[in-house]
Amino acid sequence: MSAGPYSEQTTWTADISKMLLQPSESVTIAFHKISGDTHILNFLSAATLKILAKGDENFATAFPKILDEIQMTEHDCPASLVKRTILELDELGLVIPVETKA
């Protein structure tokens, strides 16, 4: 697990090969094989994990893709909430910062 460093330019990724993901109607259950922890993701955190797992994204590039994935507008889902969700996933070791540019 890792947390930080990050900035607006930090690119993030997620290695879902280390997880067992089980989507259900309203949540996705993620068993993290490394830590042995089980995480229950709501639709926003699940979508965030999915987008970051596809490739390196920073906050700015990930945000519109996540909105598209959850079919919500920025009015409903502010950028600050997406950012906080990424950091929350980072704290749990589900996503990691790849590169931080000055």
Binding site: A3, G4, Y6, S35, N42, C77, R84, E91
Partner: protein, 243 residues
Amino acid sequence: MTDKNKKTDLFLEQRRDLLKLGAAGMPMVLTLRASAQEAVISQLRCTITIPSKFKILVDDTGAAWVGSGKLRTDKKTGNLKDKDVKNFKHDASYIFPHDSVSASYRPDACEYETCDESGGSGDHDDLLSHLTDENGTYAMNDYLAGSGEDDGHDHSCDDDGHAQDSHGHSIITNAPCGYAVYEYSRSQIISPGDYVTQGGDWNLSGDDGLYLELSLKYIDENGVNGHWPGVSCVISILNYMGH
């Protein structure tokens, strides 16, 4: 409106309600620990991965510089090379002012012989202390008899006001002194939760403890909006601790 449209509207409305809760601070992830016997304190379990090799230079005032520059030791004095120290400070990625670092991480202060403007060794500055003994009475004879600890050599001053010998070398009577260097390697993992007591306080020790000490200082100054590696992890723990 068809039933299908009603369902879609309800579905989106439920999502919007959930996002409102998220915007209000509700976590977007719920974690169940590997062992059901343990309490769920995922905030304490984060770790910090050091992104690249760096050093922390600490002086005796508790100031600190964080960077990746060279810090070589002068073989003659056993101290860090002045030029390296100057360059390291100049190029430091992060600088912390005096009293940022606790005493246990600070080096001993250097005991330079001080210089006066006339180029002497500066012992005259201590004249009054030599004139007064432990009983508060004057002891001029002791001073004149040589207990003033003047070695009889004529010293000059360098640019920093430090005494120099006849070869121009700084005189350091307590070498090595002045700076302490702590090194951190790339991919080194720090587990802040290991330094949280059951009472919910920090109990910092070792090199990792210094890193966390500076992390807390950094958060005091910059909050969550910073580039300091691991800031989100430390803030997560601070939130757990109720700070």
